[in-house]
Amino acid sequence: MTPVGPLFQANGVTKRFGGFTAVSGVDLTLGTGESVGVIGPNGAGKSTLLGLIVGSLRADAGTLELEGRDMSRLSLPDRVQGGIARAAQIPQTFARLTVRENLRLPAVFGARLHGAEASDWVDEVLTLTGLTDHAGAVAGELGLLSRKRLELAKAVAARPRLLLLDEIAAGLTQHEIETMIGLVKSLRSDRAIVWVEHIPFALRETCERLVVLDKGEKILDGAFATVWEDERLQSVYMGVADHAAA
């Protein structure tokens, strides 16, 4: 058997805003079925990194490859069609469309499904994300939990090979977070997941690997337990209440 390359590979990804470097030379390699948690203090560059990978932001340097295909120059819609999707930190929903219509767009234009095939897939995603009861509701009238779920469901509906999650559990209750954890677990099997979250137990439950970003740089990357015990992680979070509480 020929050795199979990684599913996703990022090399030296960099983003500058004016004179300020938000993401600095980050490398990241992921295999199918792998879930990676990303943590780091506020402003560490986590959201910016996900934006660079999905293509909503243009990188100043670095390359991205998915399944051996160079994605660096592709536009955002082309990357989504190519197999990368993100659930954004602030839900980006279509306020005047129904939940079902919100999901049909990524199913048709992202996953490139048609007609009844797309409808069936949308139904499946609705069930998976627990949104079936809200299928006919207008997205603009949803509560926070449902909006967060919809944002995740939209990313899932695009059938990505690489799924990027940006604080999908932030602001939810303990019980709701557990629902999200179950959901992420059910999505792991045939794709890679990168989950940015400030809630350690959520990442511990779902990710075998942990990456730490600080001031735009990747300072740690390894098995969850090893990184968690590393004293450099403690120093990054010195005085940050979130971490101390966990």
């Binding site: 955002l76 819609p77 279509f94 469309l97 219509e101 767009l105 048609h114 695009a158």
Partner: protein, 318 residues
């Protein structure tokens, strides 16, 4: 009733009504009604771009003039029947809209609006200057070099009225399709549309080309009826003002709004002109109406009426 049955019914009913009017009404009424339908089509096309794709163009009079001139030049210089050119004029305008769209869509928002206006002014200036377009004197419709033997208003009115019904039916079907859903999604949140895999740029271009074609078809038909075209008339700002005003008054981003707005627009104009007010006085009333509507019902009259009936319905059920 299924949407398909509704569309078929609308087409048959609209076609029958258009045919009946075309045969029975006097030429003067047909001429006025043709103008009403022309403005409805123009408004529908401007609305598709502004109300659904969120792109405000201040240069759509360009396509009205382009459609008219394409038809006059082609018909006058060939022996091919005018009806064929009537069908081909919008195709030509659509073809020209592709490169134009690729340039102007590099401009954002206000710059796009102004960019379109500049494009319209440039084309109008060229048509005014060139001798092969008739210059400032304009052109008289002489198909194959011979004067028209009969007035075309009956056939033109039927074509326009049936075309409007077909256009509304087609737009309804389009908005119900996946591509239409992408357009509605873009209107709500362009970034989210891109993040769903929708190529927003390509969609903008598609809608731009469709709206150019519709305006060119309406323009061509209008000037065939007039039998005469000149640059100062064909490329005038009033075309743009009419399509904008009736859309905004009636309801931007709705299919019924532009129709309702046009009826009001023409009613005000005719009543005031018949009452003896001179020239462009009616524009003042229409402008004032637009201001009032935007203050009282910012989304336009049709959405306001819908809210009202929804409200009374809900009350009745309680």
């Amino acid at each position: 009733m299924t949407p398909r049955a509704f569309s078929a019914g609308l087409l048959i009913l609209g076609g029958a009504l258009a045919a009946w009017s075309a045969m029975r009404l006097d030429p003067g009424s047909l001429y006025l009604l043709s103008e009403v339908v022309v403005i409805m089509i123009l408004a529908q096309m401007w609305n598709l771009l502004a109300g659904y794709a969120g792109q405000i163009s201040l240069g759509h009079q360009l396509f009205v003039g382009l459609g008219g001139y394409a038809l006059f030049l082609a018909a006058n210089n060939t022996g091919v029947p005018i009806w064929i050119w009537l069908a081909l004029a919008p195709v030509l305008a659509g073809a020209l809209a592709i490169p134009l769209g690729m340039v102007v869509f590099h401009l954002k928002h206000a710059y796009f609006a102004v960019g379109m206006w500049v494009a319209a002014e440039i084309v109008a200036a060229l048509v005014l200057k060139w001798s092969w377009t008739g210059g400032s004197a304009g052109l008289i419709l002489r198909p194959g070099g011979e004067s028209m033997t009969s007035n075309p208003e009956r056939v033109i009115f039927f074509g326009l009225a049936f075309g409007l019904v077909a256009l509304v039916v087609a737009l309804r079907a389009f908005l119900a399709s996946d591509t239409g859903l992408a357009l509605l999604g873009m209107r709500d949140n362009p970034q989210a549309a891109e993040a769903s895999g929708v190529n927003v740029r390509r969609m903008h271009l598609l809608v731009f080309v469709i709206s150019a074609m519709g305006c060119a078809a309406a323009g061509a038909a209008y000037y065939v009826n007039a039998l005469y075209i000149s640059p100062s008339d064909a490329f005038q700002m009033n075309w743009l003002i009419a399509m904008m005003f009736v859309t905004v008054i009636g309801g931007l981003g709705t299919l019924t709004g532009p129709i309702l707005g046009t009826v009001l627009f023409i009613a005000i104009r005719e009543v005031m002109t018949n009452a003896g007010y001179s020239g462009g006085t009616y524009w003042i009333v229409i402008g004032a109406l637009a201001v009032v509507v935007l203050l009282v019902a910012p989304r336009g009259l049709w959405p306001a009426i819908q809210d009202l009936t929804d409200y009374t319905k809900r009350k009745a059920f309680r």
